[in-house]
């Protein structure tokens, strides 16, 4: 396993998980939620080679950073962006589709910190079943977000898809600033296209239009900013 290893108490690192427990349970459980963490650099990530088949693990919990899951069939590729709070199980590949036909690759978009929720971790937290429910429930959340992505990619206008995508990302990982909502995620135009089912040149054109209207602004650090009143502006755009 590559990268320097440290440990965190998962309930401190992911406060939302802590909300699954009462104050009294939390006091008892905290010390039992220590997990190994790994810091991973930007770039391709051989997640399956790294961890092997870990059927008994709960999964890998992202604490910081962003990961792209690229699904490809022939020349087509669609990606999913996975970020803080999401749970991955990259070694899972049951028979819902043949691996030779549809392939998956992982790419770290930012320096990423993950907690390894291994079988020992699963054993330790089993005394607090509500916590196990909350951890596994993170995978359900990913599925719901993917379902919204399918809706976005059905919109006729590419600029509406792009703007809706950034609102969708802001809902999960955005931060309010006086200038608007900042999304700390560096995405290329091609990756945006793979997220919304559009070609790269169409995305570039749409981003240019949206930038001209001050709706989607690329920041110097590679992140993005959208207006605080995005729901109203998106309504307007969808109504055009």
């Amino acid at each position: 396993m590559s990268g320097a290893q440290e440990h965190v108490e998962v309930l401190d690192a992911d406060r939302e998980l802590a909300s699954a427990l009462s104050a009294e349970q939390l006091k008892l459980a905290r010390a039992h939620t220590q997990a190994r963490v790994q810091r991973l650099p930007v770039g391709g990530w051989d997640a399956i080679g790294e961890y092997g088949e870990q059927a008994a693990w709960l999964g890998l919990l992202i604490l910081e950073g962003f990961v792209a899951r690229e699904t490809s069939c022939e020349q087509e590729t669609a990606i999913e962006v996975i970020g803080p709070g999401d749970l991955l199980r990259p070694w899972d590949h049951d028979g819902e589709y043949p691996l030779a036909s549809i392939t998956t690759r992982w790419r770290l978009l930012e320096p990423t910190l993950i907690a390894l929720l291994d079988d020992e971790f699963a054993q330790r937290i089993s005394a607090w079943p509500a916590l196990t429910v909350a951890v596994i429930g993170r995978t359900g959340r990913r599925a719901r977000w993917l379902a919204v992505r399918l809706i976005i990619s059905q919109l006729r206008r590419i600029d509406a898809r792009v703007f809706y995508l950034f609102w969708h990302l802001a809902e999960r990982w955005g931060s309010h600033t006086p200038e608007g909502i900042v999304i700390p995620l560096r995405l290329t135009h091609a990756q945006i296209g793979e997220l919304i089912g559009a070609q790269r040149p169409s995305v570039t054109t749409a981003l240019s239009q949206l930038g001209g209207e001050q709706l989607v602004i690329r920041l110097p650090d590679g992140g993005w900013r959208i207006p605080s009143d995005t729901p109203d502006r998106l309504d307007e755009l969808l109504g055009r």
Binding site: E96, T104, A122, R149, Y164, G197
Partner: protein
């Protein structure tokens, strides 16, 4: 990370559609999880499997065709609670920005029928198209499987499967041709639910053209045209009683290649 939830998102995301018909009556019973779904215990040694099979009990609810709303969680369902689909076929639809998207869930899928992320986010509307059963995966179930943590891993694996299928469905949005989208999803369905017979793979899937359109992101009329074309080309044929016959392997790439080798005549996606 700041929670931006509930900020008038319902206007953007559109209203969730309430079921029009009443939810059919259901029945609830207690059953052994590993008898309902033995594959969950694949990683257990034989003796542990036997012990777990006897001790891990779940509440199981039947459902009939029609709008579906599970009642297993009692009066206070909590977000994050899941159910395991034992058999039957469910559809989850979401509506947003004037568009509807659908997914099919069946045997072995772990789903979260009570979950919403935040007020205003699109809420799924559930409907059963084949009657079946679901088992409640609540805190008491996870307390019972505590001696066998590998079972929690198996449930987590099932829960991620839905995401993998949705990720594959996202690929259909990259395909311009509706017939190719249909070939792709029928190959996915065949891999999961198909039965091989001498003339191809048979799928029992009572889906309308409209529902197929919502799954692949196309209009009903385009689906009807594309299915007519696929039937002429001998790739996908609607049989009687919700059965479909798929020629060739349950392999999306191979079937797509075969499809592309024939003369295409259907329209492209918008």
């Amino acid at each position: 990370m700041e929670d931006l939830g509930g900020r008038d998102a319902s206007r953007v995301l559109g209203p969730s559609r309430a079921p029009i018909q009443p939810v059919p009556e259901t029945s609830v019973r207690i059953a052994r999880l590993l008898e309902l779904d033995p594959d969950l215990g694949d990683a257990l040694p034989a003796a542990a499997f036997s012990a777990a099979r006897d001790k891990v009990l779940v509440r199981v609810e039947t459902f009939r065709v029609g709008p579906w709303k599970p009642r297993l969680a009692g009066r206070a369902p909590r977000p994050g609670l899941a159910v395991l689909v034992i058999d039957g076929l469910l559809v989850r639809e979401i509506e947003s920005a004037g568009r509807v998207s659908a997914e099919l869930l069946g045997t072995g899928d772990v789903i979260y029928p009570w979950d919403i992320d935040r007020p205003g986010a699109p809420t799924g509307v559930w409907c059963a198209i084949v009657p079946g059963q679901v088992a409640l995966l609540d805190e008491s179930l996870f307390a019972r499987i505590a001696p066998w943590p590998v079972l929690a891993g198996a449930i987590a694996s099932r829960s991620t499967r839905r995401g993998r299928v949705l990720a594959a469905l996202a690929l259909t949005r990259r395909m311009r041709r509706i017939d190719e989208r249909l070939v792709f999803i029928f190959a996915l369905f065949a891999e999961r639910w198909g039965k091989v017979r001498p003339d191809g793979i048979c799928l029992s899937l009572p889906v309308t053209h409209e529902l197929l359109g919502r799954i692949v992101g196309a209009r009903r009329q385009s689906v009807t045209t594309a299915l007519g074309d696929l039937r002429v080309r001998g790739l996908i044929t609607a049989l009687t009683d919700g059965q479909w016959l798929l020629a060739g392997p349950a392999d999306p790439a191979a079937l797509l290649a075969y499809s592309r080798a024939t003369v295409p005549r259907t329209e492209e996606a918008p």
